[in-house]
Symmetry: C2
DNA sequence: ATTCACTGTGCAATCATTCCAAAATCAAGA
DNA sequence: TCTTGATTTTGGAATGATTGCACAGTGAAT
């Protein structure tokens, strides 16, 4: 879980996923690795645009979507109708504080009660969802 | 799990949650009970506006948000940056088909593998999240 | 130098949702 | 029945995140 990497290591991560390592893509990846705060596209843009004044918002959106489609990051849609990105793609849960808005990582699986005890967070609501191809659509795709 | 109720029963459901039973609110509740398809606000609006031509989109949005705040419905934000509402507030999971877009209810808890076997759905991705007040904010609210 | 494919830009458009001020409705009391 | 005040509803404008699109830039190989 290191928070800074060499340029070569960053390049390797992109190439491994079939993503060409352009300057902007490396910078955005570096930011995600260094800031495990589940940032939104806007937050990434705000953080990098002072360092890279020519950076376009659209580039940030495109890049994060590309990372997601290539499986390099997770995309979280917990609430507020905004997408947050997580460089940690291993199975784990998330906890969003309704007071301060911070998003925490949680071990998984554990019962909500255990988690509450363990972390000291007060859990008011939880939700689990799955994405995939449903039975009906599968049978249409390859009819017996 | 009945799909139609008398007017009195619908009124009772609203009053029980501290919601005044206006005509529009009853109609929207009736729709949610009769259509367990996790509809969006837009879908509810489209379905009811032919029957109630004066219905405003804002009323549907306000009403669904009120129902959610009063704990009468669940709010799902699985993807697509849209909120879906579920009249079933008991603990259960959801499965969204990436092909047809339908949202299925799933028993909970079960391991993803078990669920896949059981239902015939192909699960490509799953996510679990919690909402509440985090440890840090709690200690600020009532300092020892 | 030219070409070609890929990457990045910036503004317009889209889409769901919320804001807001005015209009409608309703209940209770005079 | 009329008045008053609170609540509900309306509809158009505003907001905020995201995407579309057409053009510009870049860089490697010819």
């Amino acid at each position: 879980m290191q928070t800074s990497m060499t340029l070569e290591e960053l390049k390797g991560m992109l190439i491994e996923k079939g993503i060409q390592p352009s300057f902007h893509r490396l910078k955005i990846l570096e930011y995600l690795i260094g800031h495990r705060t589940h940032p939104t596209a806007e937050e990434v843009y705000q953080a990098l645009s002072s360092e890279i004044p020519t950076l376009s918002r659209t580039t940030v959106y495109n890049t994060l979507k590309l990372f997601y489609q290539k499986g390099l990051v997770l995309a979280l849609t917990i609430e507020d109708l905004e997408i947050r990105y997580d460089i940690d793609v291993s199975p784990h849960g998330h906890f969003k504080c309704l007071e301060c808005g911070k998003v925490y990582d949680l071990p998984f699986p554990l019962s909500p009660a255990q988690r509450s005890e363990l972390e000291g967070h007060q859990i008011l609501e939880y939700h689990i969802y799955f994405r995939g191809i449903c039975r009906e659509c599968r049978s249409k795709q390859h009819p017996a």
